[in-house]
């Protein structure tokens, strides 16, 4: 059960960007430097969305996480199109969903081992 606070959502998202930065390194070698532009768009849109979700979503079950990811990807793609990013949508989709899956697995299975009360604290890391 995920019952994150607004602070928890933003803090967790910020930590997820460290992982995303690491994942972006091999992707930039594979798909080119435009990955870093996409990374920057993802940070902006991700933080805005988490702020909104912090106010409107109390409980986030697994199915909703999937739906929110699809929405986030759509908005990032829109941002990339508006900024004329030189990258095919297929590359952006592979980058986004592979990163998303790794980050999800990290927060579902790895992070809670090292911070036992992370979920109890509304996903807040520095509390």
């Amino acid at each position: 059960m995920t019952l994150a606070t607004l602070h928890g959502r933003i803090q967790t998202k910020l930590v997820s960007y460290i992982i995303l930065a690491l994942i972006s390194i091999p992707f930039s070698l594979l798909f080119g430097g435009a990955i870093w532009n996409l990374f920057a768009i993802a940070i902006g849109i991700g933080l805005i969305l988490e702020t909104i979700w912090g106010f409107v979503i109390e409980h986030q079950p697994g199915w909703l996480t999937l739906l929110l990811a699809a929405l986030e990807f759509s908005l990032i793609t829109l941002g990339a199109l508006l900024l004329n990013l030189p990258m095919p949508i297929s590359h952006a989709a592979v980058y986004y969903f592979v990163s998303w899956a790794i980050i999800q697995l990290f927060f579902l299975y790895v992070f809670p081992v090292f911070r036992l009360n992370w979920a109890d604290n509304g996903s807040e890391i520095w509390s």
Partner: protein, 439 residues
């Protein structure tokens, strides 16, 4: 890491846990995971295993699955959930998919296996002393624990965790009077006792929670008819035993800021009996109401008598002076447990040390410590239903986990991301997953 409470003399223990059920296992598992040695914790309980009394209860009501979800387990970490564990065990993705929709509920048997496996991996039974603590005395920076009738303490502990579970099973007065009058009559029984209900029988079920609804199901599946009676009425479709928001700071921090009277009312509302919205149950209950094999009555039981081998009840309806007579083959009382403050050990402590209570609720601080029994070097905590003042969901596996982690933080200090601690936890987790005993 390895921040242990300081060593004490032989026969004395840094941490003592009174009670041997779920609360005790959770507190013990979290402390062991955080690096406290099994030699530094002693559990005092007459129970032979942590699930024994709970398992006997659920067997008697024929409960097959738990109301709780994937994350309600006894691993000290949230990861992996029981759905992941079951998926890997049975090589099936079904539990995970159910879990994504909050529809995963472990079976009683799977849960019992899990409890036993955590007890083994943490050395819980080895740390247990078969003993019923009847009296506690605070002396300086330690607690002296006494067995029934003994003037010498059986042990001395520095920190105390009270994991005493619920108060006794409640029996409404008319039922208690009836049972005193007809002690061998089997037509009136508690849900938690063994019962022999004839198929097709009409049964009055008093109560409005999961236990009552499980009994409705048993009776309906046996071709019987249910007359359900509750003083407060019935609340359907609540997934967990308390509203979900209380399982995180998002819900329990605002709760803790409420003025006492409002907080007490919120606690009462949050912990009232409710019925989960299992799809199969909803379908069955809707059909039963339609064909009049399930009758829901809001009212309070006033009187029970025998009439030609059957049970006759008088029920007081709300806002109605008249009494409603009901007749059935059996009556089952499923009204839950008395407040934990009626537990003999806790009620004695309350009187002895003038502990702060509000109505029937013990006041504990935000780290689940009893202030009047705690000092800088010796702390007394509660886990389980007794912790409700600080956490409305304390009487649930998820709530006990929050309580246990908070207690561990208070005793051992907050968790850090120092590499030694991270490496230690990683090792502990691997041992837990490979069913090796924790360090």
């Amino acid at each position: 890491m390895h921040q242990k409470p300081s060593n004490t003399a032989p026969g004395r223990f840094p941490i003592g846990i009174i009670g041997g059920g779920f609360g005790a296992l959770m507190a013990y598992a979290v402390l062991r995971f955080r690096g406290v040695s099994s030699q530094d914790i002693r559990i005092f309980s007459p129970d032979s295993s942590p699930e024994a009394s709970w398992h006997a209860f659920v067997k008697n009501i024929n409960q097959k699955t738990l109301r709780s979800e994937s994350v309600a387990h006894f691993f000290p970490t949230d990861s992996p959930g029981l759905a992941t564990y079951e998926s890997l065990k049975n090589w099936s993705i079904k539990p995970l998919i159910y879990s994504w929709f909050d529809q995963y509920h472990p079976t009683v048997e799977f849960f019992v296996q899990h409890v036993r496996s955590v007890a083994r991996a943490t050395g819980f039974l080895r740390a247990s002393t078969p003993c019923r603590v009847a009296r506690i005395e605070k002396q300086g920076d330690s607690f002296h624990l006494f067995e029934e009738g003994s003037k010498q303490p059986c042990t001395i502990v520095r920190h105390l965790i009270l994991a005493i579970g619920h108060g006794p099973i409640t029996t409404p007065d008319p039922i208690a009077q009836y049972q005193a009058q007809y002690p061998y009559d089997t037509h009136v029984a508690s849900a938690f006792s063994q019962k022999n209900i004839r198929p097709g029988a009409t049964v009055i079920v008093i109560g409005d929670g999961l236990t009552a609804a499980t009994e409705w199901m048993n009776i309906l599946e046996n071709g019987g008819k249910v007359i359900a009676v509750s003083m407060r009425g019935f609340t359907f479709n609540q997934p967990l035993n308390t509203p979900r928001r209380y399982f995180s700071t998002r819900g329990f921090i605002p709760y803790r800021t409420l003025p006492d009277a409002q907080r007490l009312q919120t606690l009462r509302d949050a912990t009232k009996g409710t019925i989960p919205g299992y799809r199969y149950w909803n379908k069955m209950f809707a059909a039963a109401v339609k064909n009049e094999t399930l009758q829901l009555i809001q009212g309070s039981l006033q009187e029970i008598s025998q009439t030609e081998g059957r049970v006759r009840c008088m029920v007081q309806l709300p806002k109605n002076a008249s009494l409603l007579p009901l007749e059935a083959d059996y009556l089952i009382s499923a009204t839950g447990f008395a407040p934990v403050t009626t537990h003999p050990l806790l009620s004695q402590l309350i009187k002895q040390y003038n502990l702060e209570t509000i109505d029937t609720v013990l006041k504990v601080d935000e780290s689940f410590a009893i202030s009047k029994l705690s000092s800088d070097h010796s702390l007394a905590f509660v886990i389980g239903p007794a912790a409700g003042w600080s956490l409305p969901c304390a009487d649930s596996v998820g709530g006990m986990k929050i309580t246990a982690r908070t207690i561990a933080d208070r005793l051992l200090g907050s968790e850090t991301f120092q590499w030694r601690e991270v490496a230690f936890k990683g090792r502990q987790w691997l041992r837990l997953m490979t069913r090796k005993e924790l360090i």
